[in-house]
């Protein structure tokens, strides 16, 4: 019973690709995402397939073959492509297993802090008023704590371990999430589709989950990549200071730390895990930038 057929837009008049198509085209057209994503994928695969890829047991010590140089150096051999460390463990195997530690810490810390920060930020942005006041106060408190000092102190008191590092970083890195989520939620909340959902009788939970969250997701991903990089870096720093992941676990930060005594004569001991760390952080940052570029919602056609 369509009234006014003459003015109704016909099907052919609806043009334009779907948001999914646009997103796909944008992702593959974005150099940062392609490069960053490529490197990140390689590192993730390396971590997942570590038992298959690693030529040796990363914990196996071979004291006869200590400090074997990598293959491109004069005395290097193909037996240990990246050489061995000061107790004769295969450096390539340790590097591959180390990727697991770094990724695990980065992802877990970003996840824990992400949940805390998002809940606080979205609540503050959506409800405003007293909730906002409390959250803003908590953010201010958190921002006045120096992360590295606090985590050093906690780890020094409780003792360092992988779980401890994840927990400490997870509980400390939520500030940026909260700030960004609060601002973006405030902006979304003022839009008419939220009012329309309220007027349709939707519950607050429904509105938060289905109307607000999907529209702040892109910012969330961007912050998550930044915090992931931040956590990986902090882990490296803590491990370097001997307060993070404990030996003999093969963390990249720990590898740098263990190699620091040999920096003058065998700089590759630091250069190799250092490069790996640099590549991971570069990849994640490129990805984050790219995600921000391509996920700006296509609202106005």
């Amino acid at each position: 019973m369509a009234i006014m057929n003459s003015t109704a837009p016909s099907a052919e008049q609806i043009l334009g690709p779907t948001p999914g198509q646009i997103l796909r085209r944008k992702i593959f057209g974005h150099r940062g995402i392609v490069i960053g994503g490529g490197i990140f994928l390689v590192i993730v695969l390396m971590a997942l397939l570590a038992p298959l890829l690693a030529p040796y047991d990363p914990y196996h010590q071979d004291l006869i073959n200590r400090m074997a140089p990598p293959v491109w150096q004069e005395r290097g051999s193909w037996e240990h492509i990246l050489g061995t460390d000061q107790v004769g463990r295969d450096y390539l195997s340790r590097l591959i297993y180390g990727a697991r530690i770094s990724l695990l810490i980065g992802i877990m810390a970003a996840l824990i802090s992400g949940i805390i920060g998002t809940v606080m930020g979205v609540a503050a942005g959506y409800f405003g008023g007293k909730v906002d006041l409390v959250v803003t106060f908590l953010i201010t408190c958190r921002l006045s704590l120096p992360v590295i000092l606090v985590s050093l102190a906690v780890v020094a008191i409780v003792g360092g371990s992988l779980e401890m590092v994840i927990l400490v970083l997870g509980l400390l890195l939520w500030d940026r999430y909260a700030v960004v989520m609060r601002a973006s939620t405030q902006q979304i909340r003022s839009l008419d589709y939220v009012a329309a959902a309220q007027a349709a009788g939707c519950s607050t939970w429904y509105i938060l989950a289905r109307e607000v969250l999907p529209n702040v997701m892109n910012q969330l991903i961007v912050v998550a990549t930044l915090e992931f990089a931040h956590a990986v870096l902090l882990e490296a720093a803590l491990s370097f200071l001997g307060l993070g992941v404990q030996p003999p676990l093969p963390s990249w930060g720990l590898m740098i730390s263990e190699g620091r005594n040999y920096i003058l004569f065998d700089p590759w001991l630091i250069a190799i895990p250092g490069t790996a760390l640099f590549l991971l952080l570069l990849a994640v940052n490129l990805l984050g930038d790219g995600v921000r570029d391509v996920t700006v919602p296509e609202n106005r056609a």
Binding site: S6, T7, Q13
Partner: protein
């Protein structure tokens, strides 16, 4: 009347992934001193890009071509970016739709008013200040000298638009381009701002190009009208002529679309234009409106030119005479010609 601005065959194209978008496709017009030309059309017709092209403020990837753009005899096409920067703000000025985004929130009104004239004319701080106060009073702002120290956010929308106008007039431009100057304002304020623009135009003897989608504004303000559709001027002429004898089918349909107090009966259905604007990517031959036009015939797909039917009334429609005859045959029709 002396011609202030003359534009011949202005084209603006934007390269896109899908092809070249010809947003403005060869338009020509003139504005004389003391005259108001209204560019009217719906969104996407190229009217705003036209104004930006005149100011050479197009987005960087858009390309501007023209046979001639002359302001008081100076060929703007030959001026470099530095030359244009001199012309902008001094001999031609522009007012935008949203005054809040075109005023810098970090500077006081006084700062922003005085900056341009000191830059362009090299006058002293005192003279600049005097001129600012003089113009703020001219645009109807009370306590002008105390307003100079205020920031844009302290003013209401109508006041901000007045400040924008004062700012545009600081260097005494010969041409004022207003891009939807009243769209964001309330009706009462709209009337006041339009009044102001007209008064100032008379007083400073400026040429004004006013860009709008509101036929009410056009009817009341324009001396001459150019109706734009899909990047072309499809009908132009004196305002009285256009409103009493709209000839292009698009102009006619557009006028049937708006409720007119006193003419449209209560609850009466309005005329509509079926279909949508054709894609402006790639070359287009024939009439751009043909796919939506109730009078379209095969001949409308042939290349066409803009013709002057009577002096001061040009139409880009091959069937203009026939359409006029059909209209004359019908008595007051209601609804669209479709």
């Amino acid at each position: 009347m002396t011609t202030t601005l003359s534009v011949e065959n202005l084209r603006v194209s934007i390269p896109l992934a899908a092809g070249v978008l010809h947003a403005v496709r060869g338009i020509s017009f003139e504005v004389a001193r003391g005259e108001t030309l209204c560019l009217v059309g719906e969104s996407g017709c190229g009217k705003s890009l036209t104004s930006l092209a005149l100011m050479n403020l197009l987005p960087s990837r858009a390309k501007r071509e023209a046979d001639r753009i002359a302001l008081n005899g100076t060929d703007l096409l030959k001026l470099g970016e530095r030359g244009m920067a001199k012309v902008r703000g001094s001999s031609m000025a522009m007012i935008f739709q949203e005054p809040m985004t075109s005023l810098n929130p970090a500077y006081t009104i006084g700062n922003q008013l005085e900056e341009g004239i000191r830059l362009h004319k090299g006058v002293s701080a005192k003279e600049a200040r005097e001129r600012a106060v003089y113009l703020l009073e001219k645009v109807g702002i009370t306590a002008a000298s105390s307003r100079l120290g205020q920031y844009p956010h302290q003013l209401s929308g109508g006041l901000r638009q007045r400040v924008m106008i004062a700012m545009a007039l600081m260097c005494g431009p010969e041409l004022l381009i207003c891009d939807e100057p009243t769209t964001a304002l309330d009706v009462t304020i709209q009337a006041q701002i339009l009044h102001l623009i007209k008064d100032l135009q008379r007083e400073f003897d400026m040429a004004v190009i006013l860009i709008t989608h509101d036929l009410g504004v056009v009817a009341r303000v324009a001396d001459r009208v150019a109706v734009m559709y899909a990047g072309e001027i499809i009908e132009s002429g004196d305002v009285g002529e256009i409103f009493s004898r709209p000839t292009h089918p698009y102009t006619q349909s557009l006028m049937n679309c708006i409720p007119v107090p006193g003419k449209t009966a209560h609850g009466e259905r309005l005329g509509t234009i079926p279909g949508i604007v054709p894609s402006m990517i790639g070359e287009m031959t024939g009439c751009a409106f043909a796919n939506r036009c109730g009078y379209a015939r095969d001949i409308c797909l042939e290349p066409l030119v803009t013709r002057e039917l009577v002096p001061n009334h040009a139409v880009r429609c091959v069937r203009a005479e026939e359409v006029a005859a059909i209209n004359a045959g019908e008595t007051l029709r209601a609804g669209s010609p479709a």
